[in-house]
Subunit: 213 residues, 2 copies
DNA sequence: TTCATTTAGGGGCAAATACCCCTTTTGTCA
DNA sequence: TGACAAAAGGGGTATTTGCCCCTAAATGAA
């Protein structure tokens, strides 16, 4: 029985080399090569010999992150399966990754035997999900989506400015709007997200990755 | 020649298992056991048979982080060397870890051969530092220390509350102080850190890890 | 073609914030 | 024991913010 070809995409070299060793110890898998980000992977794929059966994909990476990369793979290389491997535990990130087309989502905080299982299941049944992720998926059906879906593009744009030392007057000037319009955005957002003041908004924005310090 | 005993302290199991494989492939080192945080390590050390020659220590961990743990080791087990292994690239964290007593600081973004080198050097010469870290050390001598050293304990405490939806009046009440005292703290901090308003303070605090959202 | 939603804007007001000024008490250390 | 820093507190004021109210144009779907 031939072993499946696997590629690791992970920006921290030491970790990808360590995981490489782990994967090569699994009977049914062999690591072809390592990539430091999504862009590198896409470039490699130009040569058909470099297209593996499965990609083990980190999410936080420079240049091109795991979510963007997975979207591209789903589009252009639908036969390559993606198993996400990340430290991100928050719902939004996991859902984004699954929507992008990942066949499974594994936390870095798992046993190596579970990694092997997950890889086998993805290749044999097409997907692998832990109980946690399954519950999350169910939850995402009932719970009307994540709170930042409530926010319109213009409001998200405003929040970027609000996470700054600028006064609302200055923000208005930067966005070429009347100060009163800006205050309107603020009032609506406070109401939607149940916030009392700008400090609360900044913390919310950072927690929900609307703004990154 | 006998091999050195090594312990890995890292909260993500898969990573510690992967690195375990890597280290076990080095001729002069063998992994004794893995820990998920500092507390676990200290508990293990109660039995002298569990005390290794060197500890490979992550920094971001739940319960007891790498910096606290390294301080305890320096105090109570000075013969155990610590090599920090982290993704944190910011000066303050690195310096804190070195001040706590780490013999070296390695980014997770390095070659495995460099890890082996570093381990050997730490055991043979007592320390290992990359060029980057050396430059950083030199820099920390000239540059008058990091900005959060300017802040007094009481001010740091205030900042925790300021990164909240509370008004200054409420913060005063929580800290059992007069609102005027709180305003005094704020004014002093704004002056020291060249800030214009509370939003600026929140962003500063998060950037400099004074407050974690 | 209505009706609803989105986007943009305005008035007024109370509370909170930012920015100056200033004093007293408590350590603590040289 | 005097000097000096830190901690705690106060007065006054201009600006900013938060919170109501309400209007008009544009867009878009039924």
């Amino acid at each position: 029985m031939q072993s499946y070809k696997l590629v690791i995409v992970e920006d921290h070299v030491l970790l990808s080399q360590a995981i490489e060793g782990l994967v090569n110890s699994f009977a049914q898998f062999e690591v072809c090569y390592l990539c430091k980000n999504g862009k590198e992977l896409i470039t490699r794929f130009k040569d058909p010999k470099n297209i593996p059966d499965i990609v083990l994909m980190d999410i936080n990476m420079p240049i091109m992150n795991g979510i963007e990369t997975t979207k591209i793979l789903k589009d252009q290389y639908p036969n390559v399966r993606v198993l996400a491997l990340s430290v991100e535990e928050d719902e939004e990130t996991i859902l984004k990754m699954l929507r992008a087309g990942a066949k499974g989502y594994l936390l870095k905080d798992t046993e190596k035997s579970i990694l092997e299982n997950a890889l086998i299941e993805v290749m044999e049944t097409g997907f692998y999900h832990t109980k946690n992720v399954t519950n999350l998926l169910l939850g995402s059906l009932t719970k009307k989506n994540n709170p930042s879906d409530l926010l319109k593009p213009r409001e998200l744009e405003f929040i970027q400015h609000a996470c700054t030392e600028k006064t609302y007057r200055e923000i208005a000037s930067d966005m070429c709007l009347s100060p009163k319009t800006i205050e309107g955005y603020r009032d609506v957002i406070f109401d939607k997200l149940h916030l009392r003041n700008r400090t609360g908004l900044v913390i919310y924005a950072i927690k929900h990755k609307i703004f990154t310090p």
